[in-house]
């Protein structure tokens, strides 16, 4: 199937898209996706997907932030340039806390955003779907189910029949 990325089916409502997604999921496809203008509630279950892993990136970022904050302040105010201010201890977790807390949030936030990008393999500016004219309505008011040719179960006729059976408004092949 050289030159073809996959088969695209257009839907008008989220309910129809979700019903189609359930059918594609039950047919056992693995390399397929649903494209919607906004996150559709319940679509993750309809596609048979588990929990997102972004939280690990956030956790790693936050942990790094807190550790770096505490170690930095210890190094700067107790080790490298120790100076007594107002008779207070050279290092204390209390005065080091506000800055470490802010760094926890800062790096946690970077972890969340970049974790999202990494898991989504973004940025990707040259996607076959972005070249498809009809697909440009995906950010407007249309819904799409796309099955890729790379899917081990993919056979054009069967996929077309499945999507037609899910009452798609329009079906076409997407060039690679």
């Amino acid at each position: 199937m050289a030159g073809t990325y996959g088969i695209l089916a257009e839907f008008d409502t989220p309910a129809a898209t979700m019903a189609a997604a359930e059918k594609v999921r039950d047919a056992g496809y693995t390399r397929w996706d649903v494209h919607t203008p906004f996150p559709v509630h319940g679509m993750d279950e309809a596609m048979g997907m588990g929990n997102s892993q972004v939280g690990w990136f956030t956790f790693a970022g936050g942990l790094t932030g807190y550790t770096v904050g505490m170690l930095m302040i210890y190094y700067m105010n107790k080790y490298d340039y120790d100076i007594v201010v107002g008779g207070k201890p050279l290092f204390s977790g209390f005065y080091a806390f506000p800055v470490s807390y802010e760094l926890t949030i800062l790096l946690g936030a970077f972890g969340s955003l970049f974790g999202m990008f990494i898991l989504n393999r973004l940025p990707r500016h040259h996607h076959p779907l972005l070249k498809n004219r009809r697909f440009a309505k995906v950010t407007h008011d249309k819904f799409y189910v796309v099955i890729e040719c790379d899917d081990p179960k993919y056979k054009e006729a069967a996929a077309r029949k499945l999507l037609e059976g899910a009452s798609a408004a329009h079906i076409e092949l997407v060039e690679d």
Binding site: T13, A15, P98, Y101, S112, M116, P123, V138, T139, H140
Partner: protein, 489 residues
């Protein structure tokens, strides 16, 4: 369905309990993106050209004043002993407080599942970012020798010395810079799907264009919006991670926003000065910040929704809800004013009691009573539905709140300082024309940034607003579900 004998239950909501929908007139998904993107795609309207010209000139005045300050010295401001913190710090706290409403709307209301936030969160977050930019200017220029301002950051230097982290002023540096960065990340992430909407619309419009210049600009815009849209395709596998990251960012921004104004209040509360050295400061500052921020959101949103004809997306219900938050936080602030006085008396510290008596009846009593009337008395009008639904009244009251909160910071900073411990050091602080013009100038800076945002970015979170309409619900008949309400699609 089994019903108790002789009783019939209606599952329909009674009319008086029905909520007004978030987007009026059952507008379609396409209508929402057409409406919001239309502002970006259409020609620049006259009001926009006029207001950006004025704002730009006012912004230039701000930069001129800052330039004059740097080249001449802090003597151009009204600062002197004993009042060494004047308008610069007042303005800093005022601007940073305004930012807090944006984060409250984008993060806290998101965690509380307040769906009405979707129509206003984008503009409110933009307000946060621009307000923090204005705020950040003041601490930087008030240090006096501004070319040493980088010493505030832990950057290795030739002296081999490091910042001193026991000082709340340094905590503030980290709090404010983190606040700015995280707000920007959160705002940008929310923008990604909407930037993709604009990118795709430009692509669809490209075919209709004939003139080479139009084609060139269309291509340029496609590239720019497309670059920042990161190749978004609305994939549900992406939305899954996106929504989780959004939730996590909201979860991180919530403790952040509460910590930022707490740390700003530590600048005062950690000192030994009567009037500043109180434990009520962190919660009192946070409530005041949200109060003033909602004042500013209302000031910005009310004209915007009528000029840009967005009344169906930012409805009267949205304005009413914001008025209620303003009323609640304003009342918390009023309680804090009362409690400060009570503790000043009950605490038995004569210096503390003097500081507070002096606030209310001393030389700055005029500022104190402006503060009390603007922040505590006038917002009580929001108890009345007639006031909350009257846009002119809400607009005027929102400006009253802005004024009142500026005076609150003025009262805290100046009245606490102007009576030093030695009566021979007592003084009376007045701003100079440079102080005043710099402050007005930052409003120009803020408005310039905000007007650019309104013109070039979707000022309403398109994908989020679509998500709260019934058409987006796969279990609603408008979303394509077969049965009337509830049938599993």
């Amino acid at each position: 369905m089994s019903e108790a004998a002789g009783q019939s239950f209606s599952t329909e909501t009674p009319k008086e309990l029905e909520r007004q929908p978030l987007v009026l007139r059952k507008r379609s998904l396409a209508w929402i993106s057409d409406k919001v993107c239309g502002i970006v795609e259409g020609p620049a309207p006259r009001w926009w050209k006029i207001s950006i010209t004025i704002s730009f000139l006012v912004m230039l005045m701000c930069f001129t004043m800052v330039g004059y300050l740097i080249t001449t010295g802090v003597g151009v401001w009204g600062l002197n002993h004993p009042v060494a913190w004047g308008w610069a710090i007042v303005n800093f706290v005022w601007w940073i407080g305004i930012g807090h409403a944006g984060t409250l709307i984008s993060a806290i209301l998101f965690l509380l599942r307040q769906k009405w936030r979707t129509s206003i969160n984008r503009a409110a977050e933009a307000m946060t970012i621009f307000a923090v930019i204005c705020a950040g200017l003041f601490p930087a220029i008030h240090v006096g020798r501004i070319w040493f301002a980088w010493w505030l950051f832990p950057i290795p230097n030739a002296h081999g010395i490091w910042p001193q982290f026991k000082s709340p002023l340094l905590w503030d540096v980290f709090a404010v810079s983190t606040y700015f960065t995280v707000s920007l990340l959160f705002w940008y992430m929310g923008l990604i799907p909407d930037l993709a909407t604009i990118r795709d619309r430009l692509r669809l419009q490209a075919g209709k264009l004939k003139k080479p210049a139009e084609k060139f600009f269309n291509g340029l815009k496609q590239r720019l919006y497309g670059l920042f849209a990161m190749g978004w395709t609305g994939s549900n596998r992406h939305w899954r991670n996106y929504e989780k990251a959004y939730l996590l960012l909201a979860g991180l921004s919530t403790p952040l926003v509460l910590s930022v104004h707490s740390i700003v209040s530590f600048d005062f509360a950690v000192s030994q000065l009567p009037g500043w050295h109180t434990t009520i400061f962190p919660p009192y500052f946070v409530a005041g910040a949200i109060f003033s921020g909602f004042g500013m959101v209302l000031t910005l949103i009310i004209p915007l929704r009528s000029i840009l004809k967005l009344e169906e997306i930012i409805t009267v219900r949205h304005i009413e809800l914001m008025c209620k938050v303003t009323l609640a936080t304003g009342s918390i602030v009023g309680y804090a004013y009362g409690m400060e006085f009570f503790i000043a008396w009950y605490g038995g510290n004569p210096y503390e009691l003097y500081a507070f008596k002096n606030r209310a009846f001393g030389p700055y009593a005029w500022a104190y009573w402006i503060m009390v009337s603007c922040n505590v008395i006038f917002p009580q009008l929001f108890w009345f539905k007639g006031i909350r639904t009257n846009m002119v009244a809400v607009f005027i009251l929102s400006i009253v709140v802005n004024i009142g909160m500026w005076f609150e910071r003025f009262v805290i900073v100046v009245t606490s300082l102007h009576r030093d411990f030695l009566p021979s050091s007592w003084g009376y602080y007045s701003p100079t024309w440079v102080d005043i013009l710099t402050y007005i100038g930052t409003m120009g800076l803020f408005m310039t940034l905000f007007l650019l945002f309104v013109r070039y970015l979707p000022l309403i979170a398109i994908s989020e607003v679509k998500g709260v309409t019934p058409q987006a619900d796969p279990h609603h008949e408008l979303g394509g579900a077969p049965a009337k309400k509830g049938g599993k699609g």
